[in-house]
C-alpha cells in the first residue's frame, strides 16, 4: 500500500529564518511525502536522533547564519555513528558555492541554494532515497 517517503526538515543552530524551510516542508507534503518538521534551534544530536526514531529517508537542513560548515557535517557524523549513514542528508539556505565541495565531502549529498525550484529538490529526493522492501 502506501510506501511514503518520509523527510525530516530541521533548522540547526540559532538561525530563526524559516520561510524557506517551511516552503520546502509544504512543497514536499504537496508532493505526497510525510514531513517531520522539527522547527528552530535544533542541535545536531537532536536532529540525528529524531531522524532515526522517525526512520526518515532524508534529512533537509536549512541554515542562513553562516554556521553551516560546523553544524551540517556534525549531523552526518552523528547519523553515521548510530549506523544510519543510509539516510540522505541535504542542505539549503545561504551557503556559498565555494563551501559546497567541502560539505559534499563531509557527506551532504546536495545543497539547494536560493532560487532552486521545488521540482528540483523533489526529484532529487525521489531519485536518491534508499529503496528497500
Amino acid at each position: 500500500m502506501s510506501q511514503k517517503i518520509r523527510v525530516l526538515i530541521a533548522k540547526p543552530g540559532l538561525d530563526g529564518h524559516d520561510r524557506g524551510a517551511k516552503f520546502v516542508a509544504r512543497a514536499l507534503r504537496d508532493a505526497g511525502m510525510e514531513v517531520i518538521y522539527t522547527g528552530l534551534r535544533q542541535t545536531p544530536e537532536a536532529i540525528a536522533n529524531a531522524a532515526i526514531q522517525e526512520d526518515v529517508d532524508a534529512v533537509g537542513l536549512s541554515i542562513l547564519s553562516g554556521a553551516h560548515n560546523t553544524l551540517l557535517p556534525k549531523v552526518v557524523e552523528i547519523l553515521k555513528s548510530k549506523g544510519a549513514e543510509d539516510i540522505l542528508v541535504f542542505g539549503g539556505g545561504v551557503i556559498p558555492e565555494s563551501d559546497i565541495p567541502f560539505l559534499k565531502g563531509q557527506g551532504i549529498k546536495a545543497v539547494f541554494t536560493p532560487g532552486t525550484p521545488s521540482e528540483e529538490f523533489i526529484k532529487f529526493i525521489k531519485e536518491n532515497v534508499r529503496k528497500d522492501g
Binding site: L14, H17, G39, A67
Partner: protein
C-alpha cells in the same frame, strides 16, 4: 476650510516656523529650467476628502510626511547596518563608514548575542561572530565604540530579547566616555512580537518579554530621554513572505499591543508614544510601496488619536526606518541587485522614510565586502543628491494610481486589525497562529508563482546566464569563536566574582517581583557580568519560549 486656505496657513505656520528655525538645504530649489519648486503641491480643485485623509506634511494625519520640510530640510539618515566578527573589526568598519559620509551607526550582533548566549555556550558553537558582532560583556562593548563619542552619534542597535542588557552596556560605555544618559541618541529594536512571528531570536515567553519591554520604556522615559525605545518592525514580516497589506497591518497591530502593555503598566500614552518608531521593508514594486508607507502613516495617526486618545502630535507621528528588501536579492548575477536596491531606495524615499539602510549586491551570498557596502551607500547618496526627488515633499501625491493604492492598503490593513481585535489582540493572534498562517500562505503562493513563471525574477527564472561561482566573498572563520572564549575567560578572571554573583541575585529577585529591571541590569553590566549570565539568571524566573508552529 478650503485646501488653498489650509495650504496658505501651513506655509505660514507649520512650514514657515520650521524653516525659520531649521533652514532648508537650499535657499531656493529649482528645476533645470530655472523654475522654483514649491515645498509641496496640493490639488488645484476642491477635494472634500483631501484634508481629512491626506493633509499636509507635518500635520495630522501625516499621510504626506511627518515633518514640514522633510528632505528639503535634511536628507533621511543614511544608516548602514554593520557589524561582524570581533568588536575590533566592527569598530574599524564603523569608522570607515562614518568617514565615508554615513550619518548614523547601526549595530548588527551575532545570533548568540541576540539570543543571550555567551560565545562559550554549546548553542553558540559555529555561530560566534557570523551574522554580527559578538558581545559577551561590557569589555567587548568598550572595544566596539572605542574612539567613537557616543554623545555625538546616533546609534541603532538591532537587538530584541536582550535589548535591555545591550542598552545598559551602551549607557555604561557612554558614562565612561563622560556622557550622561540623557545625551544619548539612538534606537533599540526591542520588538519581541515580530520575533515570535517571523524572526526567531526570542528567548523568554511573551508575558515576561512584554514586561521587559515596558520596563525599558519606563526607564528611558525618565533617564534616556532622547532614546527611541522600540522599532516596531514590519521588515521581517515582509521578509517572511507577507504582502504589503499584511506588513502594515501586523506591524501596526504589534504597535497597538505595545501601547496597550505600556498603558496597562501605568504609563501615559503621551509619555512613551513619541518615542515609538517603526521599521519597514522597501520592496520592488515602487508605486505600491510608496502607497504602503502613506497608508501606514495615516492608519497609525488615526489609531493614536481615536483609539488611544493621544494628545501630543508626536505620539501620532509614524516615524520609520527602512531597509531594502533582502529577500529580493538574487545569488544569480549579483550586480543586478544594485539596480533592485536603487528601485527600493526610490520607493523608501518617495515614501518619506526617516532613515534608510541599503543592502549590498552580494548579500544573498555572504556578509558584504567593503566595496559592495560602499556602492550601497553611494546608491543612497546618488538618489539624494542627483535625482531631485528630495526637492519637494511627497511628490507622487495626486497620482490616481498611488492615491487609489494608498486608500486600498489603508482599508485592508484596517480590516486585518479588526480581525486581530476579534481574536483578542496580537499576542493572542500569534499564539493562535493566525498571523503566521497568513504570512506563510502569502509566501507559499508567491513561491509557486515564481516557479510557474507567473512572477519573473530576472536572472533566476528568466534571462539566466551560466555563471562562475562568485569570488572574494567575505568569510568569517572559527578563530573568532576561539578568541572570544579566551576573552570571556580573561574577563571572568579579572573581575570581582563575588560582586557579580550578588548583582545577579539582585536581578533574579527583581525579576520575581515587579520593580523595573533596568537599574539592576545596569549595575550588573558595570561589574562585568556577562550577557549569558544575566540572561540565564532571568531565564530561571521567566522560563524559555517554545515556538508554536503553524504550517
Amino acid at each position: 476650510m478650503s485646501i488653498s486656505a489650509e495650504f496658505a496657513k501651513w506655509k505660514e505656520g507649520a512650514y514657515g516656523k520650521t524653516v525659520a528655525k531649521f533652514p532648508e538645504r537650499k535657499q531656493v530649489f529649482k528645476t533645470s529650467f530655472n523654475e522654483e519648486i514649491a515645498p509641496v503641491y496640493v490639488p488645484g480643485f476642491e477635494d472634500p476628502q483631501y484634508l481629512e485623509t491626506r493633509g499636509l506634511p507635518g500635520l495630522y494625519p501625516f499621510t504626506r510626511g511627518v515633518q514640514s520640510t522633510m528632505y528639503r530640510g535634511k536628507f533621511w539618515t543614511m544608516r548602514q547596518y554593520a557589524g561582524f566578527g570581533t568588536a575590533e573589526e566592527s569598530n574599524k568598519r564603523y569608522k570607515y563608514l562614518l568617514g565615508a559620509g554615513q550619518t548614523g551607526l547601526s549595530v548588527a550582533f551575532d545570533l548568540p548575542t541576540q539570543i543571550g548566549y555567551d560565545s562559550d555556550h554549546p548553542m553558540s558553537d559555529g555561530e560566534v561572530g557570523k551574522v554580527g558582532v559578538a558581545i559577551d560583556s561590557l569589555k567587548d562593548m568598550e572595544i566596539l565604540f572605542d574612539g567613537i563619542p557616543l554623545g555625538e552619534v546616533s546609534t541603532s542597535m538591532t537587538i530584541n530579547s536582550t535589548a535591555g542588557v545591550l542598552l545598559a552596556m551602551y549607557i555604561a560605555v557612554a558614562e565612561k566616555q563622560g556622557f550622561t544618559p540623557d545625551k544619548l541618541n539612538g534606537t533599540i529594536q526591542n520588538d519581541i512580537l515580530k520575533e515570535y512571528i517571523a524572526r526567531g531570536t526570542y528567548r523568554f515567553p511573551p508575558k515576561p518579554s512584554m514586561r521587559l519591554i515596558t520596563d525599558i520604556f519606563e526607564y528611558c522615559a525618565k533617564n534616556v530621554t532622547k532614546w527611541n525605545t522600540i522599532s516596531i518592525s514590519g521588515y521581517h514580516i515582509r521578509e517572511a513572505g507577507s504582502n504589503a497589506v499584511q506588513e502594515v497591518a501586523f506591524t501596526i497591530a504589534d504597535g497597538i499591543a505595545y501601547a496597550d502593555a505600556a498603558i496597562k503598566a501605568g504609563m501615559d500614552i503621551d509619555v512613551f508614544a513619541p518615542r515609538l518608531s517603526f521599521f519597514f521593508n522597501a520592496h520592488n514594486n515602487l508605486l505600491e510601496e510608496v502607497a504602503k508607507f502613506r497608508a501606514a502613516r495615516r492608519l497609525w495617526a488615526e489609531i493614536m488619536k481615536n483609539r488611544f486618545n493621544a494628545k501630543d502630535v508626536k505620539s501620532q507621528m509614524l516615524r520609520f526606518h527602512t531597509q531594502t528588501a533582502g529577500c529580493t536579492l538574487t545569488a544569480q548575477q549579483p550586480d543586478n541587485n544594485i539596480v533592485r536596491v536603487t528601485m527600493q531606495t526610490l520607493a523608501a524615499t518617495l515614501g518619506g522614510t526617516q532613515s534608510l539602510h541599503t543592502n549590498s549586491r552580494d548579500e544573498a551570498l555572504a556578509l558584504p565586502t567593503e566595496d559592495s557596502v560602499r556602492i550601497a551607500l553611494r546608491t543612497q547618496q546618488i538618489v539624494a543628491y542627483e535625482s531631485g526627488i528630495a526637492d519637494t515633499i511627497d511628490p507622487l501625491a495626486g497620482s490616481y494610481f498611488v492615491e487609489a493604492l494608498t486608500d486600498s492598503i489603508y482599508a485592508k490593513a484596517k480590516k486585518y486589525i479588526e480581525r486581530i481585535d476579534e481574536l483578542g489582540g496580537m499576542v493572542e493572534a500569534i499564539e493562535k497562529g493566525f498571523v503566521q498562517q497568513e504570512i506563510q500562505d502569502s509566501a507559499y503562493t508567491y513561491q509557486l508563482e515564481v516557479e510557474r513563471g507567473e512572477q519573473i525574477v530576472v536572472g533566476v527564472n528568466k534571462f539566466q546566464v551560466k555563471e562562475l561561482p562568485p569570488s572574494n566573498l567575505l568569510k568569517v572563520d572559527r578563530s573568532i569563536q576561539v578568541s572570544q572564549i579566551a576573552k570571556i575567560n580573561a574577563v571572568k578572571a579579572s573581575r570581582d566574582n563575588e560582586l557579580v554573583a550578588r548583582k545577579l541575585a539582585e536581578i533574579k529577585a527583581a525579576a520575581q517581583g515587579t520593580e523595573n529591571l533596568m537599574p539592576k541590569i545596569l549595575e550588573a553590566v558595570k561589574v562585568y557580568a556577562t550577557l549569558g549570565e544575566i540572561t540565564g539568571t532571568m531565564q530561571e524566573v521567566f522560563g524559555e519560549h517554545k515556538e508554536s508552529v503553524v504550517l
